[in-house]
């Protein structure tokens, strides 16, 4: 099944153009594995890149540039061997697998509150990617955002005021969004979340928890 909620067009253009930071690109690429329709958009963005490259004026190259490359053609290419996929990770799309080591159990999980854990996968300084593992029925404290928050559902489902998100869906929040997601269905919800600024919790419980969450 294809996804119902997608990254914005701006994000897909930036991914195809190569201007996203690694954490945000990780989320977009993982969504692409689960969404043929966004793959189609990125393919067109890459066509745009091809058109752009073809139309650029040529720069002068060093006089021996071609000869130098021809000389290197037969030198052996550095081989990168694809590691076998651990069975525990087979359900995760390939772009994400690389960041999960030998499996979810080996990740540096931190307990945030009852039924809610996070593991940071990558912090680029520009944005941070982490997994959230949230038990069935848990309501995440209402929170707002200073910057962007993107959440991709990998397993289970959650809903907030804007919709019902299942595997492959991306929930987008920005500086104006305050939401209170609730995990639904009979399954633990696993999300890949990327934020480019700290989250802050609203409400009394949120204010009490903020200092502990290190969100």
């Amino acid at each position: 099944m294809s996804a119902s909620f997608h990254p914005s067009d701006e994000l897909l253009v930036a991914y195809g153009a190569g201007s996203l930071d690694e954490a945000t690109a990780l989320l977009v690429a993982t969504h692409l594995a689960l969404c043929p329709c966004c793959r189609d958009v990125v393919e067109k963005v890459e066509f745009m890149g091809g058109v752009m490259l073809d139309d650029l004026p040529p720069s002068d190259l060093a006089a021996d540039a071609l000869a130098s490359v021809l000389n290197r053609l037969e030198s052996p290419a550095p081989r990168r061997k694809a590691a076998p996929v651990p069975p525990a990770l087979a359900a995760f799309p390939a772009p994400l697998r690389t960041y999960l080591g030998s499996g979810l159990d080996g990740l540096p999980w931190q307990k945030l509150s009852a039924g809610m854990e996070q593991a940071v996968l990558l912090d680029t300084g520009v944005a941070r990617a982490r997994l959230f593992r949230i038990a069935e029925g848990v309501a995440i404290p209402e929170h707002g955002h200073e910057g962007m928050e993107l959440s991709l559902v990998l397993q289970g489902a959650f809903s907030d005021h804007a919709g019902h998100y299942r595997r492959g869906d991306v929930a987008s929040a920005d500086g104006e969004t305050v939401h209170r997601p609730v995990v639904e269905g009979g399954e633990t919800c696993l999300c890949l979340t990327v934020t480019d600024a700290p989250l802050y919790l609203t409400g009394l419980l949120g204010r009490l928890m903020n200092p502990f969450l290190k969100l």
Partner: protein, 189 residues
């Protein structure tokens, strides 16, 4: 409606496709003469200094030779495929980041329920439509699309460079993509 540029582009794609079977250095040299100077321009426009742009342009072409067997003319033209190589090489070497990408053979990949009849002609036509649609964009939309390819922090830098609010840059990009989608007509929903 063929002109010299179109002929060159198609010839480059055919040349690259032929490298899959025959490792002909003369054919590679033709690809090199066309693409290496353009990859260098692309990298220079992204702020790379001349010496590094030269080195990476050569390295990108070396990667073209080494990876040629994975080129599929049913999926991309030479320009698009080589653009992706140059883009990824720059992310790897200059930004020192990984480029998360889908693996077409990934068993977890959700397949398109209604795959298009993918043929070489379809890709050529599709890319030609993208080119026509880009050429038909209003200048202010064309500008943000072009800048998207030449910035590292996409929207904020474009906004700063053009002296525009971030929201304006994003809405122009959205409008541009909507227009391109409408003209191509074979986009997803």
């Amino acid at each position: 409606m063929h002109d010299i540029v179109e002929d060159t582009r198609e010839a480059m794609t055919a040349a690259l496709a032929s490298l899959v079977q025959e490792r002909d250095q003369q054919v590679f040299a033709r690809l090199f003469r066309f693409y290496a100077p353009r990859i260098k321009t692309y990298l220079r426009k992204l702020g790379t200094d001349d010496a590094m742009a030269e080195e990476l342009a050569q390295e990108a072409m070396l990667a073209v030779w080494r990876k040629a067997e994975s080129f599929d003319p049913a999926k991309a033209t030479a320009g698009t495929w080589i653009f992706a190589i140059a883009r990824n090489l720059r992310i790897d070497r200059l930004r020192r980041e990984r480029r998360p990408e889908i693996d077409p053979d990934d068993p977890a990949l959700v397949e398109d329920p209604a795959p298009r009849a993918d043929e070489v002609v379809a890709v050529e036509q599709s890319e030609r439509k993208v080119r026509a649609a880009l050429a038909g964009l209003p200048p202010e939309q064309a500008e943000v699309v072009a800048l998207s390819f030449y910035e590292d922090r996409p929207h904020a830098e474009i906004a700063a460079r053009l002296g525009l609010p971030l929201g304006t840059v994003k809405s122009r990009l959205r409008l541009a993509l909507k227009r391109i989608r409408a003209q191509i007509g074979d986009f997803g929903s």
